[in-house]
C-alpha cells in the first residue's frame, strides 16, 4: 500500500501558495467592496475629510479672530473712563445684559468684566483693586474674548505703573530691568514630528487593521458561507499553502490600504498647509513651516510591516472561527477597541518608550513612530520592537495555520 512518501516539498508548497495568492488577489480586485475599503476610502475619503475639516476649522477660527468679541461690562458710574476706553476698543462690542453668566453659557457674549466700585479712584490713589473676568473654560470664542480683555487690562496696568513712576520722577524701565524673548531652535521636522508624530502612527495602525478586516473575513467566513472553502479543501494542496496564500492576500490589502492612505495623507498635508497657511507657512509668523523627516517615514513603514503581518494573521484566524460574514463581524469588531486603546496611549503626552513598553504590541509601534518622525532614533528599542513584533506575528500566523488544520473549525455547523 503506497503511503505519503515525504512531507510536501518547499518548492511545491510555495508554488501552491503563489497559485492561491494570485487567484485570491484577482478575486479581491474584482470585488467592489474590497476595492472601496482598500483603495478608494484611504486614497480619497481621508484627504477629503482632512481638507474639509481643516478648511472649516480654519475659517471658523479666522472668523472668530476677526470679529469683535461681544462682552458685558459690570461697572459703576465711577469707572466711566475705563468703560469708555473698552467701548472704543475695536476688539470689543459691548452688550447690555443683566444675566451675564447665562449670556456667556448661551454664547450670546464671549466674556464679561466686573470692575469694582471706585476702581478709577483706587487707581488714582494707588490703592489695590481687583478686576474679575468671567469666561467659559475650554470654549474657543470665550477664550478669545477673555484673552483680549486680559490684554486690555494688562496694558492699562502697564500704563498706570508708567504714570506712577514718571510722577515719582523715576524711569519707566525701572520695573523692566531686562527683556525676555523666545527663539525656536527646533528644526522644522522636529516641530512637524511633535505636531503629527502622535497622530500619524495612530491613524496608520487603524488603517492597517481596517484594510485587513474585510478581506480576512471574506476569505474565511465568507468562503464558508458561499461553500467555496469546501471546494478548495478538495484539492490536494496542503492546508499550510491555503493559509499562506490567503494570508498574503490579506497582508497585501492591509499594506495597500496603509500605503494609499499614507501617500494621500502626505499629499493632502502638503497641499492643505499651502492652501490654509499660504506658501512657506506665512500665516504662522515666527514659526517654522512644519516638516516630516523622510527617514522617519521610512522607519515607520518598516516597523508597520510586522504589525500588518500580526493583524492579518490574527484577523484570518479569528474570522475562520465564524460560519458567516455576520458572525465574523461580531468577532472582529470588538478587536478594533483592543487595537485603538494602545494606539491612543501612544498619543498621550508623557508616555515615553522604554524597554518594557517596547514589548507591548501596537503601543510600542505608536511610541517608536512618534520618536522616529521627530528624528529621534533609539536603535536598541527599535530592534526590540521589530523582533518582538516579528515573534508575535509568527505566533499569530502559526495559530492561523493550526486553526486551518482543525476540522471542527473548518466544518463548523
Amino acid at each position: 500500500m503506497p503511503t505519503e512518501p515525504t512531507p510536501p516539498r518547499t518548492g511545491r508548497l510555495w508554488r501552491n501558495t503563489l497559485t492561491i495568492y494570485a487567484k485570491e488577489l484577482r478575486d479581491a480586485l474584482r470585488d467592489r467592496r474590497t476595492l472601496i475599503s482598500m483603495i478608494v476610502v484611504p486614497t480619497l475619503v481621508m484627504p477629503v475629510i482632512m481638507l474639509v475639516a481643516g478648511t472649516v476649522a480654519t475659517r471658523i477660527v479666522r472668523k472668530a479672530q476677526a470679529e469683535a468679541s461681544p462682552i458685558a461690562i459690570l461697572a459703576g458710574a465711577d469707572s466711566a473712563a475705563v468703560v469708555a476706553e473698552l467701548r472704543a476698543d475695536s476688539r470689543f462690542r459691548v452688550v447690555e445684559t443683566p444675566d451675564y453668566r447665562g449670556a456667556i453659557a448661551d454664547k450670546r457674549i464671549r466674556a464679561a468684566v466686573a470692575i469694582p466700585a471706585g476702581f478709577e479712584g483706587a487707581l488714582a490713589r494707588g490703592e489695590p483693586a481687583t478686576v474679575t473676568l468671567y469666561h467659559y473654560e475650554s470654549e474657543l470664542r470665550s477664550g478669545m474674548g477673555v484673552g483680549a480683555l486680559e490684554d486690555f487690562f494688562r496694558q492699562l496696568r502697564d500704563r498706570t505703573v508708567e504714570r506712577r513712576l514718571v510722577a515719582q520722577g523715576l524711569p519707566a524701565a525701572l520695573v523692566r530691568p531686562f527683556a525676555v524673548k523666545r527663539e525656536n531652535v527646533a528644526p522644522p521636522e522636529k516641530v512637524g514630528g511633535n505636531l503629527v508624530g502622535g497622530f500619524i502612527p495612530y491613524l496608520i495602525i487603524l488603517l492597517c487593521f481596517a484594510g485587513a478586516m474585510y478581506p480576512a473575513m471574506d476569505l474565511t467566513a465568507g468562503e464558508k458561507e458561499r461553500g467555496t472553502l469546501e471546494t478548495l479543501l478538495c484539492s490536494p494542496v496542503p492546508r499550510t499553502a491555503i493559509v499562506l496564500g490567503k494570508f498574503l492576500t490579506v497582508l497585501t490589502a492591509s499594506l495597500t490600504t496603509m500605503l494609499c492612505s499614507f501617500l494621500s495623507m502626505a499629499g493632502s498635508f502638503v497641499v492643505g498647509t499651502r492652501m490654509l497657511l499660504g506658501p512657506g507657512g506665512a500665516a504662522l509668523p515666527g514659526h517654522a513651516m512644519p516638516a516630516i523627516d523622510p527617514l522617519g517615514v521610512a522607519g515607520v513603514v518598516a516597523l508597520i510591516v510586522p504589525v500588518a503581518v500580526l493583524f492579518s494573521a490574527l484577523l484570518l484566524g479569528l474570522s475562520l472561527l465564524a460560519r458567516t460574514m455576520k458572525e465574523a463581524q461580531s468577532y472582529v469588531s470588538p478587536l478594533v477597541l483592543v487595537i485603538i486603546l494602545p494606539a491612543m496611549m501612544g498619543m498621550l503626552p508623557g508616555v515615553e518608550l522604554d524597554a518594557k513598553l517596547a514589548l507591548v504590541p501596537i503601543l510600542n509601534l505608536s511610541l517608536a513612530c512618534k520618536e522616529m518622525l521627530s528624528g529621534v532614533w533609539h536603535w536598541h528599542y527599535i530592534a526590540l520592537i521589530f523582533a518582538s513584533t516579528v515573534v508575535y506575528a509568527a505566533a499569530a500566523l502559526a495559530g492561523a495555520v493550526a486553526l486551518f488544520r482543525r476540522e471542527a473549525v473548518l466544518f463548523r455547523t
Partner: protein, 250 residues
C-alpha cells in the same frame, strides 16, 4: 477502487455529547462501478463521503482510495479524487475558464496540458459559450457543468458525488445522471450518495443503505429486491431502516 474498513467518525458536541455520525462503515467499490449510498437526511452520507475525500479524518477505521490510505496519505488521495457536492460551490468572481484552470494548477498540471484538457472538457460539456463569463452570472445548468469540469480537470480515478442533484431542476439533474454514467463507462470508481430513490434505481450497480451512521443493507438492486421481497426501492429502503427511518424519510 474504494475500500472502507470499519470507518468511524465521532463528533463531540457540548450539548449532545459524542455523536457517531459514521459507525464502523465498511464498503467496497471497484473501478467501472457505481456504488450508491442511500440514506435519509442526517444518516451520515455526507460525513462518510467527506471521510473518503479526506476532508475529515476518521476517529477509527480507515479506507483505501485509489490505492492510498486516507489516514496516511490524504494529499495523494485528493490527487486521485474528484469530489462534487451540492455544498461545493464556484468562485463567483472567477470566469468558468479561470475556475477550472485554478483547480488544474492546484493539482499541479503544467499549463500546456491544462489548456488541452480544458479544451476537451469544454467540447464534451458544451461550455464554450460561457467559458469566459463569471460564475455568478451563469445559470444553474452552466454552473453544474463548470463544477463537473472542475472535478474532472485532473482526470481522477475516483469520483465522489454527494447529493449532486440537490436543488437542481429536472434537466440539470438529468445531465448529472448522464455524466455519472459516463464516468462509470470510462472505468472510474464512482460513489454516489442520494436520498432520491429513482436515481439509485437508474444508476447504481451496488446500493448501500445507511442509517444512523451504520450500513444496514448492501447489495445489487436485484439482491436487495430478493432479500426484502419488494420491487420498489422506497419500500426496500423503509424495510431496511425500520420504523424509525420512516419518520426520518417523511
Amino acid at each position: 477502487m474504494i475500500e472502507a474498513r470499519q470507518l468511524t467518525k465521532v463528533f463531540r458536541d457540548r450539548k449532545r455529547g459524542a455523536i457517531r455520525a459514521v459507525d464502523a462503515l465498511s464498503l467496497r467499490c471497484a473501478p467501472g462501478r457505481i456504488y450508491g449510498l442511500l440514506g435519509a437526511n442526517g444518516a451520515g452520507k455526507t460525513t462518510a463521503l467527506r471521510l473518503l475525500a479526506t476532508l475529515l479524518q476518521p476517529t477509527s477505521g480507515t479506507a483505501a482510495v485509489a490505492g492510498y490510505e486516507v489516514t496516511e496519505a490524504p494529499q495523494r488521495v485528493r490527487e486521485q479524487v474528484g469530489f462534487l457536492a451540492a455544498s461545493t460551490a464556484l468562485y463567483g468572481r472567477l470566469t468558468a475558464r479561470e475556475m477550472v484552470c485554478y483547480f488544474g494548477r492546484l493539482h499541479g498540471l503544467p499549463e500546456a496540458e491544462l489548456a488541452g484538457r480544458l479544451q476537451r472538457l469544454a467540447d464534451e460539456l458544451e461550455m464554450h459559450a460561457f467559458l469566459d463569463r463569471r460564475c455568478d452570472a451563469l445559470s444553474t445548468g452552466m454552473k453544474q457543468k463548470t463544477s463537473i469540469a472542475r472535478t474532472l480537470i485532473h482526470d481522477p480515478a475516483v469520483m465522489i458525488f454527494d447529493e449532486p442533484t440537490l436543488g437542481l431542476d429536472v434537466m440539470a439533474a438529468r445531465a448529472i445522471v448522464q455524466f455519472v454514467r459516463r464516468c462509470r463507462d470510462r472505468g472510474k470508481t464512482v460513489i454516489y450518495s442520494t436520498h432520491v430513490m429513482s436515481e439509485v434505481e437508474k444508476l447504481c450497480d451496488t446500493v448501500g443503505i445507511i442509517h444512523n451512521g451504520r450500513l444496514v443493507a448492501e447489495g445489487t438492486l436485484e439482491e436487495l429486491r430478493g432479500r426484502f421481497g419488494e420491487r420498489d426501492m422506497e419500500e426496500i429502503f423503509v424495510k431496511a431502516v425500520g420504523g424509525e427511518a420512516e419518520h426520518h424519510a417523511d
